[in-house]
Amino acid sequence: MTLSSSLFGEKFGLTERDLESFLAEALSKGGDYADLYFEYLATSSISLDESIIKSATQGVTLGVGVRVLSGERTGYAYSDDLSPDKIRKAARTAACIASGPATQLTAGLQPSEKRDLYSVPVLASDTPLAGRAQLVKRADAAARAHDSRIFQVQAAYADSVRHVLVATSDGRLSVDRQPMARLNVSVLAREGDGVPQRGYAGGGGRIGLDFFANENSPEAFAADAARQAIVQLHAVDAPAGEMTVVFGPGWPGILLHEAVGHGLEADFNRKGVSAFSGRLGQQVASPLCTVVDDGTIASRRGSLNVDDEGETTQQNVLIENGILRGYLTDKLSARLTQSKSTGSGRRESYQHYPMPRMTNTFMLAGESDPEEILKSVKNGLYCANFGGGQVDITSGNFVFSASESFLIEDGRLTAPVRGATLIGNGPEALKFVSMTGNDLKLDQGIGVCGKEGQSVPVGVGIPTIKIDKMTVGGTR
């Protein structure tokens, strides 16, 4: 896509000359670098509760963020008005971070390489609303039909399309159209007068409506949510203390996101405040573990053609056979550590400046048969599904909540277990990985990552793995 054929060229008449003049304004007081991030975001959402489509919303926001870098300093300003005088005003505000003679723009803007990781011929947002509304109706019907003990169903569908334009003083001009759609189903099951139990499933990505067929149909998500809630009806209290834990494939990859991913973001490491700071080349996991962050997988929730600084995304090896190999960098941290951006600069919106973030983080498959992994455990916990997690990057301690897990007794899954938090320490936990499965799976497309008040969509993945020692926070 070129500037002139983009929404910003067509609708707002922006030309390369305009962009260059805004950048010149941003560097009018000096500084090493400036960029402009234009964003137009259109969203729709439909929610169902008690079998009624109770609410639906659509809306549009747009704006531009202007950033100026001067040494380690960042000046940032934004405007939700794209008239040239308002953009110039924001540029002059951001410029105040520097104080000196103007920096001259040397390079003309060059369009970045063409790439299409999410070619969606028909955007979900361009299809009739009634068709999208059917998805939540079908999910509701399927969840209720799954089992008579399902007594509450909430289903939500949301889609968005984000148009972005990034222009940088080092000559990069990137235009991208980033679609996203997602369907979630949340149910409650109850038996007699017993305590209700929740089940949750969903999925999506940078996809069109055709995604929601077959294994990603509303019926499939509804059945999965209902199944989880029913399983929980007979769950026993979770155990407490250190034990062997087996992680199922897919979403349990959130372990990697919390245990190592955040700690490897270059801003924390540049400042020396991460538990992984200064550990490049050291053993931080068992030799069975190779962990990558890859923003280039087609149609995934965490994927991007270009990051939010206009850099091409790539596959970054974080841990190779247990050895720490690399950090995730944005332009600022790359500049300050004399390295190259790994295409990991992301931001929530034009109102935020970018920072190093993950995209899709996963562990490569190993060689073990998942059945063999289970059979090797005498007593332990098998975690099939998780809720959210969190990490203290400085101490390295991380947690995440198991939402569907089972006791392992003599190599077999036995009783389902109530929700519990698992806790570990980043640079230590993966050293206890003793088996990795041949069944790598990525999650279904529901991940949201928060950092310093900014949320971005991400993906995770993992094969079945066995960790010999991890603390499980139950009550028993």
Binding site: I52, A56, I97, D392, S401, T421, I423, T475
Partner: protein
């Protein structure tokens, strides 16, 4: 066109185009922030933005839309979008605006906005952040690094109008300062933070005090041990005790009650907590962070006792959830710009008790003093509770060594009954506030 006129014009257009009811919210905000790290400016941010949200009713169906384009054209497109999307929603017998006689606002100066915020000079934020960080770095030789300090001021205006003739607006200001020092001993690092927040610039605590407390908190986490798995009394410091109030809020909010997804379902007028526990929601207290003259449906805010002497007295409700339950709204409608109103709270707090924190440590004898909780392991449907924790071990009635990489677990139903001591150290530092509390019989999971 003023923001109020913009809201009123959107409502009028909606009615002309077929809506039977409409309400419009407009939010405008200006933020100025500075962060410093190791004595140098790291970021300066300055910006203003505004956006509008609209909800329309067509009979018992409702649709919503929002826009950041407040021109006449932009508002007109917002109205069309809401009416178009209402087509796919279904008739909901309980949907609607509040009754006309429920609308209104509380009068008098609620001290939400301070004039001194507008006159803060750009350099003052940098200076405050630098002083706070410098105080942290010089407080102890083991503070060798910092994640930085930040100072921010915010001015926000909220405008609300509906087709029943309600219109209102209020402006609020916030000034805040925080610092996150990093303590190191050998290879081990620990961080912590402290912050101050006020409606006025002058109301913030001194930067030196903020820095000193942050440093003390980071240093005392050094040398943390992982302890044995056991049952013990857990003492929550105020900063973490307020999270328990967040769980109570979720359990008494009308949405959770009508969906039967609350561990406090069907408990009105029954004991749900120790007799010493009184939880109040009050959005009328001048100058506090949960205060506003009217809620996000134009209903006057008020004081509601949620739990009184251990007995559950009231749920927190907006118009919709009140109608679902055959009750009256408690003025707790809360919304962003998009979608239908949800349920929120004003200043939700646990009333102070009689004990100093030191007396509570003495009474506990042995146990865990929690200063940080991480993770999301709380299920307010069942009450199951399991979170990552860090803090100090209480030995012989006094604070001892640091502990980390453990979890604390229980069930909220039991935990509320097992609140054995409540501190006298309640402070209003946000919209949920609690003093120190001690809960007996929790499971600590460690080695």
């Amino acid at each position: 066109m003023t923001l109020l006129e913009a809201a009123e014009s959107a409502i009028q257009l909606a009615i002309e185009r077929g809506a039977t009811g409409a309400e419009c919210t407009i939010a405008e905000g200006d933020e100025f922030s500075a962060t410093v790290r190791m004595g140098e400016v790291e970021t300066l941010k300055e910006a203003g933005s505004r956006a509008a949200g609209l909800r329309v009713l067509i009979g018992q169906r409702q649709g919503s839309s929002y826009t950041s384009d407040l021109t006449a054209d932009g508002l007109s497109r917002m109205v069309d979008a809401a009416i178009a999307i209402a087509e796919i929603t279904e008739s909901d017998p309980h949907a609607g605006l509040p009754a006309a006689d429920e609308l209104g606002k509380i009068e008098g100066d609620l001290l939400l906005a301070s004039p001194d915020i507008a006159s803060v000079e750009a350099g003052a934020r940098i200076e405050a952040a630098k002083r706070a960080e410098a105080a942290a770095l010089s407080a102890d030789a083991r503070i060798a690094n910092s994640e930085g300090a930040g100072c921010e001021t915010y001015t926000g205006t909220r405008v609300f109008a509906n087709s029943l003739g309600f219109s209102g607006a209020y402006t609020s200001t916030t000034a805040s300062l925080s610092v996150t020092p990093v303590a190191r001993e050998g290879e081990a690092m620990e961080r912590d933070y402290w912050h101050t927040v006020s409606r006025s610039w002058a109301g913030m605590e001194a930067p030196e005090e903020v820095g000193r407390i942050a440093a003390q908190r980071a240093v005392r986490r050094l040398g943390a041990r992982k302890i044995e798995t056991q049952k013990a009394t857990v003492v929550f410091e105020p900063r973490v005790a307020k999270s328990i109030l967040g769980h109570i809020f979720e359990a008494v909010s009308g949405d959770s009650i009508y969906r039967k997804s609350s561990f406090l379902l069907d408990q009105l007028e029954r004991p749900v907590a120790a007799a010493a526990v009184t939880v109040i929601d009050d959005a009328t207290l001048p100058g506090l962070f949960g205060t506003s003259p009217f809620d996000d449906e134009g209903v006057p805010t008020r004081r509601t006792a949620v739990i009184e002497k251990g007995v559950l007295k009231n749920y927190l409700l907006n118009t919709y959830t009140a109608r679902k339950l055959g009750m009256k709204t408690t003025g707790c409608a809360a919304r962003g710009l998009s979608g239908a109103p949800g349920v929120g709270h004003g200043t939700l707090y646990l009333e102070a008790g009689e004990w100093t924190p030191e007396q509570i440590f003495e009474k506990a004898g042995t146990g865990l003093y929690v200063t940080e909780l991480i993770g999301f392991g709380v299920n307010t449907v069942t009450g199951d509770y399991s979170r990552g924790a860090a803090g100090l071990w209480i030995q012989d009635g006094k604070l001892g060594y640091a502990v980390a990489e453990i979890t604390i677990a229980g069930n909220l139903k039991d935990m509320l009954h097992n609140i054995a001591y409540i501190g006298n150290d309640l402070e209003f530092r946000g919209s949920t506030c609690a003093p120190t509390i001690a809960i007996t019989g929790m499971t600590i999971s460690g080695k």
